[in-house]
Symmetry: C2
Subunit: 221 residues, 2 copies
Amino acid sequence: MEKREFKDRVYQGITQLTKALANSHRVEIVELLAQGEKTVEHIAAETGVSVANASQHLQVLKGVQLLATRRQGNHIFYRLANDTVFAAWQSLRTLGLLQLAEVAQLVHDFRDERHTLERLSIEELVERQLNEPVVLLDVRPAEEYRLGHIPQALSMPLTELAEHARALPTGQLVVAYCRGPFCVFADEAVTYLRGLGYPAVCLSEGYPDWKQRGLPVAILN
Amino acid sequence: MEKREFKDRVYQGITQLTKALANSHRVEIVELLAQGEKTVEHIAAETGVSVANASQHLQVLKGVQLLATRRQGNHIFYRLANDTVFAAWQSLRTLGLLQLAEVAQLVHDFRDERHTLERLSIEELVERQLNEPVVLLDVRPAEEYRLGHIPQALSMPLTELAEHARALPTGQLVVAYCRGPFCVFADEAVTYLRGLGYPAVCLSEGYPDWKQRGLPVAILN
DNA sequence: CATCTATTCAATAAGTTTATTGAATAGATG
DNA sequence: CATCTATTCAATAAACTTATTGAATAGATG
């Protein structure tokens, strides 16, 4: 094989993979599956596309081995093939936030509307937890909490926050986290809790980012 | 702004960026520019596309801020906008080598043809250098050596190897490196040197990967 | 100031990707 | 075994991407 043919084939192979990630619905699916496995129906509903269309996108991702599946009863559960897939999405996300002023601006503005102020990094949270007790809230849907969460976090889906907020311990910092930097569950929770007078802040990244750092995670069976 | 509109805009922004990287010529350009700045003409020649076509691809990359330019005389030099761009390409490359059996196979086979055996990782090289002297060869074109190389490396472009090989010190391990894991300059150099009886091995990654790790680099003016 | 040169632009045709339909399938459940 | 349900398949039209031309531009050089 000639040098040029070799290069063309290698770059085309990697490009196939990149093309699979070069669609807004598909990256939304990758980010969603970073929370844990989901059915086609669930993915379609959550991303706002038709089931047939979601299925097609899922097959594009599966075609380049980014996803794996398992069947349970009538449902097929899709999941990320491995941690490298999330790592690649993470670095595209970082690049986007850094390079595209519009994206950074969009995130900033949308958050500002909701009057959310400080955000704690994962490293800051780890350090704080060593020195003082912190109330950690996982505000994602209960099913995602079940599939994996930060140890010691309480499951507090947004839908149940109003009901349980008054029962939270006072006098401790409350830290809420959700799916990732583009998820606004945590912002909404923090806005609500601050309204009740709690000292609440958001975690700047989500559960998948915690997991990706190799920090310990808790799973319910 | 509604939640869905926000998400759509964020994901579409990042997708624009990913689309810019979802073309085999364009990733080859990114990898080439990781060696240092180049003119349009040079990029066209090296990647085997027409100048007009190279210019178009360069503008796609520049349009999403992945590249920056400077003019010198009649020439326009393109370069990577910053280190995050290489980091993103690096993680797509890693994903490709891991997920796509064909790509890994292709790289393995092409190398095997050239009878190249062992490869040293960057970490192994650093450790070895602490314990014993190593002859380090930068086999990229002289201009790329000038723009940045591993300290203590000798510039030994493939074209000049035959002429200078006999002058290399004997009794020391010879390590050759080039542009990256898809570059075969180093393999060719090692094959040649082993033919002459030198104990020679390749570095498994290239100069940009060394630089990206934050290790020291040398630049000539 | 005329000329030269490297780069970009514009138009085009061929090829790819996408969402939408509605039908087909494969496995579970009564 | 018939029925149901979640998922996939196939066909299509519209929207994008790409390489190829050849012309235009902007700046440098004599």
